[in-house]
């Protein structure tokens, strides 16, 4: 869909909800004036006489020139485009090519658009809101005296970050480009990878103040139409002032709010988005952030990485298993240690038990307190390290990990084994490719520490049952979160726990028509619709 069309849709949507929230132009109609001076005054007033608003007066026509003006925001437009195409066509082309120009301003405007203006994307607009959004989006307005319409020409430009290597999801082998903050550049990155007419996208305008562009991308015939519709309805329901990051959208359209688990995947890698689109998923690109949302998402997706497909299948399978195991270590490491040492020490081989008990002799705290203290210390270290300037970051890790870890053992506050356990869980949390899933694991780990310290393995097992039930109750746009494990699907196993050789994988989504699956998806959508409303 073209920009101009969605701007129209946006305008309509706004008019419908105009009563409830403040808009760029209240009472749109009176602001538009036939008188050029009046009109320019209105625009200046509306934008608070902003210094970057540039108004350039021109005169069109030979003997009895017609007053005209171009309006644009300096810094949002590409000045080369404005100078070369807009200004030149107004000043030169219209004069040269119009010996018998009609004197009716409306017709002149039409003439400029059709015969003179050297811009690809230009439209006539008569709505005040549309004009305002256009100016603020980097378009150039051409106004004529005596005409209440304006030409809106696409001269978008301005400074943006250029495409660089991804900062969060690094790979050893694979494409090195990452998304940037501009939605158009991001779409082009995907289009370059999937040269198919079936790759469709739609624009939406979300945020009553920020008017952020959100693009829905999918491959027609591969993505489930029902889910695409559901995405549209959920996005339309969003009523928020500002969208500054895709996480805003994520939190407003996810199926369930009260869960630590992410039910939408985010990535800054175009190749990941392309692969997911090919598998029939839908991508949401939000202007102003390099992080693109992918949905529907299942649990197993958070353990996949681009590397898996760049390496041989056996190596990739090994890597997968390592990731799953590290998630289990992350969840259960400290709690199993606590359960073993406090409740089930008979399970530990005797020589080891003796050495463990000898260590514990000098330590004042029970294992549970030890674990909680150490884990909290570790979390503080990690939080401190995240936002440190790079020069200081090393100090944090040296002081934190080496000195603190050693001193705490020598002071007899914590046992050395506990330091090992905590360090292992800490490292395990980094082995999971998706940062937000690792956070979920870190939160739940504390719950397991508590039940393990109270009930030992009994608590851990019940905790696991409750955790799995919770995961089972989650859905992402109607798709069960734990699929293809449960409900079990043999075909789905090709790319989850193991990765089979490439020739066995087909990207095409298997829309199994068995009653089981489709019923549950429908059911999930209808029930999540309710949830979605309360969320948004």
């Amino acid at each position: 869909m073209k920009y101009s069309e969605y701007i129209n849709r946006g305008g309509k949507r706004k008019k419908a909800s105009n009563e409830t929230s403040s808009k760029i132009g209240q009472g749109a109609a009176p602001k538009i004036s036939k008188d050029l001076k009046q009109m320019l005054d209105n625009i200046e007033r509306e934008l608070g006489a902003s210094p970057d608003l540039t108004i350039r007066h021109v005169q069109i026509g030979g003997e009895d020139p017609l007053q005209a003006a171009t309006v644009y925001m300096d810094g949002l437009v590409n000045s080369v485009a404005v100078n070369d195409f807009v200004m030149r066509s107004l000043l030169e082309n219209s004069v040269v090519t119009s010996p018998d120009m009609s004197r009716v301003p409306e017709e002149i405007l039409q003439f400029i658009l059709n015969r003179a203006l050297e811009l690809g994307d230009a439209k006539i607009k008569s709505d005040w809101n549309d004009m305002m959004i256009a100016i603020l989006s980097g378009y150039t307005l051409i106004l004529l005296d005596g005409c209440n319409k304006a030409i809106v020409g696409d001269t978008k430009g301005g400074e943006g970050r250029s495409i660089t290597e991804p900062s969060s999801q690094l790979v050893i082998r694979g494409p090195k480009d990452a998304f940037v903050e501009s939605v158009n550049t991001n779409i082009s990155l995907i289009r370059r990878r999937i040269k198919s007419p079936k790759l469709w996208f739609e624009f939406m305008n979300i945020g009553t103040v920020t008017n952020t562009d959100v693009a829905i991308l999918y491959i027609k015939d591969r993505a489930d139409d029902k889910i695409v519709d559901e995405v549209r309805t959920r996005l339309k329901k969003i009523d928020i002032e500002a969208v500054l990051e895709s996480s805003y959208i994520e939190q407003l359209i996810q199926d369930k709010v009260f869960t630590p688990f992410p039910t939408l995947y985010n990535t800054e890698r175009p190749d990941v988005v392309a692969a997911n689109l090919l598998e029939g998923r839908i991508a949401l690109i939000v202007d102003g952030t390099p992080f693109v949302l992918i949905l529907p998402t299942v649990f197993a997706q958070f353990f996949q990485s681009t590397d898996d497909y760049a390496q041989r299948f056996d190596i990739a399978t090994l890597m997968r298993l390592v990731r799953y195991i590290s998630f289990i270590i992350l969840l259960l490491g400290p709690s199993i240690y606590i359960a073993l040492t406090t409740f089930h020490y008979e399970m530990i081989p005797t020589p080891m038990l003796i050495s463990l008990l000898a260590q514990r002799e000098n330590v004042p705290f029970p294992a549970a307190i030890e674990a909680v203290l150490m884990e909290i210390a570790f979390e503080i270290l990690r939080e401190a390290g995240t936002r440190m300037p790079r020069a200081v970051g090393q100090t944090v890790s040296v002081v934190g990990a080496l000195i603190l870890g050693q001193a705490v053992v020598e002071a007899g506050i914590i046992t050395p084994v506990m330091v090992i356990v905590v360090a292992l869980t800490g490292i395990a949390s980094f082995a999971i490719p998706a940062y937000n899933l690792a956070i979920a694991g870190r939160i739940i780990r504390f719950g397991f520490i508590i039940v393990a310290s109270l009930f030992g393995f009994y608590g851990i097992t019940l905790g696991l049952i409750v955790l799995v039930a919770h995961l089972n109750s989650l859905r992402s746009f109607g798709v069960p979160y734990l699929s293809p494990f449960s409900p079990f699907s043999l075909r789905g196993q090709k790319d989850t726990l193991v990765r089979v050789p490439m020739w066995m994988i087909s990207l095409r989504p298997h829309k199994t028509k068995n009653a089981d699956n489709t019923a549950s998806i429908d059911d999930g959508l209808s029930s999540s619709g309710k949830d979605g409303r309360t969320d948004a």
């Binding site: 081989p349 009930f455 030992g456 009994y458 097992t461 049952i465 039930a469 919770h470 449960s486 409900p487």
Partner: protein, 366 residues
């Protein structure tokens, strides 16, 4: 019945875990001594025959739970009374299983934790899972079935490699004739755990494939029978029938004898995990069946009665019996005297009345 449907594989795993539940751990069929494994298999066959009756009723009323077709068949008032009886029975059995499980846990690992706390944790977990829905319970069972089966595999490898198994302990097969086996079957084995499948009559309407789906339940029952029988064989070959008879939880004693050199020994905790998983799903299924019955009988939303029922089950588990001995004694009586009434007498009556009604309405002119 409306609401989410449960896929065949999920239903299979739920049935299997339900059947294995406590039966893997407690002493099943020990009246028949070293032939316990035969009595379990015979009990399983009897259970399959009983299930055929439930399947027949299900074929007649594929989208109704037992509590609804009881009213359909027996009329509003009598049917409602029967349905209430079933709900009470389900809750009571859930309470009994809760007591079984928590008593065992207190005995095996949590020596100083009050039994009420152990039970409360268990029933709260059940309540949480059921709050998410029966479908979630079934899908969760699938994942824990994998866990349970892998524990079983570890157990098997350990039993084979440790060299503790002595096959001659199984012989002579049927040395005392068939009579002890028959007594054991009649007193216990066809009811426990196979007759307890009655509570699935409340859940069968959730089956996603109602034409052909029913076979997954007898399949799961058969597999469960084989697995329980197999466990019994391992117990007897490792411990000898004498020790098995005297042990309240033979599997626990068996696994503590199995060891691979110094490194792998005392894997009791795996058995305890198996126990927790099994008890959990057993309680949850009974509890869920009771909830479906309540919501169907009184027209209440399914979720409103979850926590009140949890309280009832928790306290009935504590107050049913003053001691574990009394509890086990009551259990034996229930199995031989009360349960057959629910699992055989009432369903048979339902089948007869239903057929009689159909016959009458068919033969009536017009």
């Amino acid at each position: 019945m409306r609401g989410p449907k449960i896929g065949l594989l999920q239903f299979f795993s739920l049935t299997l875990l339900f059947e294995l539940g406590t039966a893997l751990l407690v002493n099943v069929g020990m009246v028949s001594g070293r032939d316990a494994w035969i009595s379990i298999l015979v009990g399983c066959m009897a259970g399959l025959v009983i299930f055929a009756g439930y399947a027949y009723l299900y074929k007649l009323y594929p989208d109704m739970p037992l509590s609804r077709y009881a009213r359909e068949i027996l009329g509003k008032h009598l049917g409602a009374a029967v349905a209430i009886l079933y709900v009470v029975m389900f809750m009571n059995t859930a309470g009994r299983d809760l007591r079984d499980g928590s008593a065992l846990l207190v005995m095996a690992t949590l020596h100083r934790t009050p039994i009420l706390v152990v039970g409360a944790l268990m029933i709260l977990s059940c309540a949480y899972v059921l709050h998410k829905g029966i479908e979630v319970l079934a899908r969760t069972s699938l994942i824990f079935l994998f866990l349970a089966l892998s524990i079983g595999a570890i157990f098997t490898v350990l039993a084979l490699l440790s060299g503790e198994m002595e096959w001659k302990r199984l012989f002579p097969v049927l040395g005392d004739g068939f009579l002890p086996v028959a007594i054991s079957v009649v007193r216990q084995n066809y009811m426990f755990p196979f007759g307890e499948i009655i509570c699935f009559t409340m859940l069968m309407p959730y089956l996603s494939n109602d034409r052909k789906g029913v076979w997954v339940i007898p399949a799961a029952m058969l597999l469960a029978g084989l697995l329980i029988s197999y466990t019994s064989i391992v117990n007897i070959t490792v411990l000898g029938s004498d020790m098995v008879e005297r042990s309240p939880f033979p599997l626990l004693s068996t696994i503590s004898k199995l060891a691979l050199s110094e490194l792998i020994q005392r894997l009791d905790i795996l058995v305890v995990m198996l126990l927790i998983i099994g008890v959990f799903f057993k309680i949850a299924v009974f509890y869920g069946a009771a909830l479906v019955g309540i919501s169907d009988l009184f027209g209440l939303p399914y979720r409103t009665m979850i926590y009140p029922s949890a309280l009832i089950i928790l306290f009935s588990s504590i107050l049913n019996a003053r001691s574990l001995t009394e509890h086990l004694d009551e259990g034996g009586q229930l199995l031989s005297d009360v349960l057959p009434f629910f699992t055989i007498v009432i369903p048979t009556a339902l089948i007869i009345v239903a057929n009689f009604r159909r016959y009458r309405s068919a033969s009536r002119p017009g």
